[in-house]
Amino acid sequence: MIKTFTKGGVHPPENKLSANSPIRVLPLPKTVNIPLSQHLGAPAEPLVKKGDRVKTGELLARGCGFISACIHSSVTGKIAKIDKLMDHSGYRRMTVVIDTEEDEWQEGIDTSPNLVKNIALTGAEIIEKTKGSGIVGLGGATFPTHIKLSVPKGKKAEYLIINGVECEPCLTADHRLMLEKGEEMITGIRLIMRALEVEKAIIGIENNKPDAISHLRSLTGEYPGIKVQPLKVKYPQGAEKQLIKAIINREVPSGKLPVDVGAVVDNVGTAFAVYEAVQKNKPLIERVVTVTGKKLAGPSNFLVRIGTPVADLINAAGGLPEDTGKVVNGGPMMGKALNSLDVPVTKGTSGILLLSREESFRRPVLNCIRCAKCVSICPMGLEPYLLRAASEYKKWDIAENERVMDCMECGSCSYLCPSGIPLLDFIRLGKASVSKIIRARKQ
């Protein structure tokens, strides 16, 4: 049976141009810029200094604080500098710059293509390995995975939900990974199941990827605990709460975590990274990135070392088209527009999308005609038109009462608004202001 979430949702054009292009290994870049903050939470603390020579896979910085993640070198070479450089968010962040010399891997890392299916470690050891390998959620939120795998005392995970939805238009990295690294991914899922002590895992895949559904179905045959669940195509199904609703019909209440309804969600890319970390002892230093755009000569999926400049990816896919207006880090619905092509690929980079100038401009803003489309499509059951008005007139109490903090910024409202109103911009303003007020209240 095909499932989906019930509240709201939109159908943006899919434009999955690179769906049939196999993952290619991108050549090593001349230099890599590895930011120390590629994850949700505190930046990692550097263990190296300028002039040090590091090997591929060597630890550069250790995660500090409760929510943080380790950072490893993605090439072999000399550290040119550790400085504040701009990353995809547009902010300057502490970054380790390494001049690439060669690709000599740290001892103990298994770089052979051999598949290791046999699981030798205990749950606690798996979590420790995940932590040491710097693994974060690769779907885009970059939440450190070891924290997700350590279920808080008194709570019990029942289901592991694996996110193979890839509901963002244009992106195909997860799709290709499911097709090409299915066995590894399933082993990764089994590792996570052991860490979480759950018996049931469900892989959710939208049915615009029938090849991935049938491929993973054939692979999961020998593991009765792992199921593949086809999903109706609808954005934002890849959002954690919507995916849980779609697959096990449970709603995570406002301010609660998925584990409160007995579910833990991990991306397919994360499952693959867990496999590599635990079975091959390989830290997270590379990931699959889709490079796409209607005007681009060769939309592709690349296996890219973390820290590679975005420009390298675009050149490998045929070069920047003449009339490029926007370069987006991520998909068209939630991705961030870049203001430079020198920024590096980080752990959270799932795609690089090029939009022509024509596609890049917003529509003129007209009066709200109260057509109620934003209300009917909001997957969180909010009233975007009202939140917009609250933000515009700085009525933060109204914004808070109208649950502005529940907004996950999926962009469906701005996408659909016939008056071209940037609803989400106003809601973001509301979220920022309300969260400031909430923080002040707690002190």
Partner: protein
């Protein structure tokens, strides 16, 4: 290469625009307009043309010279108002009365509040009700279909089915006798009866309504709740006393009910934002319509019912909220 454009997400935009939605409504109204031209001839053409042209002109002039803003007549909303106003007028109405109605609809009904999106009441209905109160004689003379195709203000006139029913029932005539004076239900369904320009043909209006539903210009909640509540309310009255009350089908097919349910009550600006709110709004319109038709002084009450419920929309929006994610479900 020029500088990269940076803006917050989303970077895709959907197909809906205000203009497309408004023209969608226009397309949906065309079948009913054609039916009207078939039955009422040149009268229908003149009334529709005068109403549309004067609404567009007033919108343009007010925006340009009074509000001193960039005129937005091309967005299609004034065109919808003009056409809907025409749909609510008899086809023998003198042109100058229509111009006054357009001025009230656009000027008072829409522009005094700040233009599209800000008006609390449906502008076309504001215009229509103003004319109805100011020119009661002209506004309640109804040309006979087909017979007066080539006449405008000199058309042969007579009462509408609702008028016959009201008159007859207050004169203690039973419904079964009155039914012989009004057209058959099939004829009424096709639009072969007296009435306002665009309100007669339930068939054409339903076709347009289904078109709007399929293109997601409107949702089903308001039309269904209006029609269903009229059906239920008149059904109860009819079951209690079939001699003094017309049957529900008569109420559905007569007057401006279908036009109101699909095209007037569903006006975005003046209807609620949530499905639950739309139900309250729709049932309110249905109940008030029947109350006016059955217990009131006027034979028809759809316009008043919609305007009355328009006034409740801010209140409905304030108290009827969509269920938030994670609020209502029992997990498990």
């Amino acid at each position: 290469m020029d500088k990269l454009i940076v803006a917050p997400s989303p970077h895709y935009y959907g197909d809906y625009t205000v203009q497309k939605l408004m023209y969608g409504v226009i397309y949906a109204l065309i079948p009913a307009l054609l039916v009207s031209v078939y039955f009422f001839g040149i009268g229908a053409l003149i009334v529709a043309a005068v109403s549309i042209v004067s609404c567009l002109a007033f919108e343009y002039l007010i925006q340009k010279y009074l509000m001193k803003t960039e005129p937005t007549v091309t967005d299609g909303s004034a065109l919808v108002t003009g056409l809907l106003l025409a749909f609510n007028l008899p086809t023998n109405l003198p042109w100058w009365i229509i111009v006054i109605g357009s001025l009230v609809a656009i000027g008072v009904g829409k522009m005094t509040f700040g233009g599209l999106g800000n008006n609390p009441f449906n502008p076309a209905l504001v215009g229509r009700v103003f004319l109805f109160i100011s020119f009661p004689v002209q506004m309640t003379s109804w040309p006979t279909p087909i017979a007066s195709r080539m006449q405008y203000t000199d058309a042969v006139t007579g009462p509408t089915p609702l008028g016959i029913m009201k008159e007859g029932l207050s004169a203690e005539v039973t419904t079964s006798q009155l039914m012989e004076q009004i057209p058959g239900y099939m004829e009424m369904f096709m639009g072969h009866m007296r009435g306002s320009l665009g309100e007669m043909s339930a068939l054409a209006l339903l076709a347009g309504g289904i078109y709007m539903l399929s293109r997601r210009i409107i949702t089903w909640h308001i039309p269904v709740s209006v029609l269903l509540s009229v059906l239920v309310f008149t059904g109860i009255l009819w079951l209690i006393n079939p001699y003094d009350n017309a049957d529900p089908l008569f109420h559905l097919l007569s007057g401006g009910l279908v036009l109101g349910a699909f095209y007037m009550a569903t006006d975005y600006v003046t209807s609620p934002m949530t499905p639950k709110g739309m139900w309250i709004f729709g049932v309110g319109i249905g109940v008030i319509t029947v109350a006016i038709r059955v217990f009131g002084a006027y034979p028809e009450g759809v316009s008043f019912a919609i305007l009355i419920m328009n006034a409740f929309v801010p209140l409905i929006n304030k108290y009827v909220k969509p269920a938030g994610f994670g609020e209502e479900v029992k997990n498990g």
